[in-house]
Amino acid sequence: MIAIVDYGMGNLKSVHNAFKFIAPAIDSVVTSDPKVINNADRVVFPGQGAMPDCIREIEERNLKDAIIHAAQSKPFLGICIGLQLLFEKSDEGNIEGLKILKGNVCRFVSSKTEKIKIPHMGWNSVAHHGNHPLWANISNHEKFYFVHSYYVKEANSEIVQGQTEYGQKFTSAVAKDNLFACQFHPEKSGSAGLQLLKNFTSWTC
């Protein structure tokens, strides 16, 4: 069973729809029950909105321990804010994350020479770093759909699985042991995104 963690932030239906579409035989549930998360075979940690609100909602729902446990013990997929929350600290509201991974989250800024639009919104290419099983059947530099104003900075190079260029190069996917997390939205990235979710459903780590 795949548990999609619901902490009241944004629409999780598209993630759920995508799993039902690519893997109709696999049971997937949207849940805010720590017990269901603990019992799931795989856990998806999506998210949108502002990070301080996310942390507050996670704490209010007593989900922190279940999320940290899942991120260290079974196939775990973080999406967008679900990636950012895994790190130590975010400039957004100057808040501490779940500290599962080392690194910080900061806001995009335009440089003197190049104005960039914020949020970074739309389709951008992801350069693979290594051959992670979740990249199976996905071309290097494939485009995925992004929408975010903050990004992960100073991640350890050994966890970086994907990089994207927006004003500068930034980390758009990370992996460590049983955990994979991406800044883009696979559930909104057409066939490439669905392939990544499909790879996740069969990932043995």
């Binding site: 944004g10 335009s110 739309g122 975010h148």
Partner: protein, 252 residues
């Protein structure tokens, strides 16, 4: 490699049916929003926008059913606009599977709606649609298809809406809409330069060069078009190939 410019087809929906774009070939049911959205997705659309132009309040909820069905089968961003009046309207559309909700007239009548919706659901899902028309040496915001003047300066209004939490602006030139003479590039470029968020240019597309001009000269981040795609004149793929050949980064 960098961020692609987006091409967004727009579907006008009333009473649960698509009213423009009925000239598609190979569709079993030409007015079915799900079929049309699928077709656009296959052509490589980067997003799809649904504009609900339903007049009677009885049939307004039909858009929710449409979004639900589309979101089960198509996995690219979906934007819905038309008749969004309250935070609850925004919530219902997002819950049905919309990724972004576009607010137009209600933002003018009640700017707090933009503030409240973006605070509650995040700026990333709030698009403010601005219908602008040139008046003397500047542009003003109009409502009701360009008939009603608001007295608001479009540039100032754009900045205010971004301050209120709009994550994106959908900018339509009412002078150009329906003329097929191209975007109002000056308007698009001025607003794009004035705000930090992405701009979708709309109104006036008659050929593929207009799309290139919209991003190169108008500095738009995305281009929205209805009729050139609906009537089979050009496919999304034609548009993207043309843009690529003119050195515009697109997703092919």
């Amino acid at each position: 490699m960098t961020l692609s410019k987006r091409i967004i087809p727009c579907l006008d929906v009333t009473d649960g049916r698509v009213v423009k774009g009925i000239n598609f070939i190979d569709l079993q049911d030409a007015g079915d929003p799900v079929e049309i959205a699928k077709n656009y997705n296959e052509q490589g659309a980067d997003e799809i926008t649904f504009l609900d132009i339903t007049a009677s309040s009885d049939n307004r909820d039909l858009i929710l059913d449409i979004i639900e069905s589309v979101a089960k089968q198509i996995f690219i961003p979906l934007t819905v606009g038309g008749g969004v009046r309250s935070v609850n309207d925004v919530r219902r559309l997002l819950n049905a599977g919309a990724d972004k909700v576009s607010i137009n007239t209600s933002a003018i009548l009640n700017p707090e709606l933009v503030k409240e919706s973006s605070a509650r659901f995040g700026s990333q899902c709030i698009v403010v649609a601005i219908d602008a028309k040139r008046v003397d040496d500047h542009w003003e915001v109009f409502t009701h298809g360009g008939r009603n003047k608001t007295g608001l300066d479009a540039l100032e209004w754009a900045k205010k809406m971004v301050d209120y939490g709009a994550g994106e602006l959908l900018l339509t030139s009412m002078d150009r809409d329906g003329t097929k003479s191209g975007f109002d590039l000056e308007l698009t470029q001025q607003i794009s330069d004035a705000v930090e968020v992405p701009i979708i240019a709309s109104g006036g597309v008659g050929n593929l060069k207009h799309l290139v001009d919209g991003v190169k000269l108008g500095k738009a981040d995305a281009v929205l078009a209805a009729s050139i795609f609906h009537f089979g004149e050009f496919s999304i793929k034609d548009a993207k190939e043309f843009m690529k050949n003119n050195n515009v980064e697109v997703r092919l």
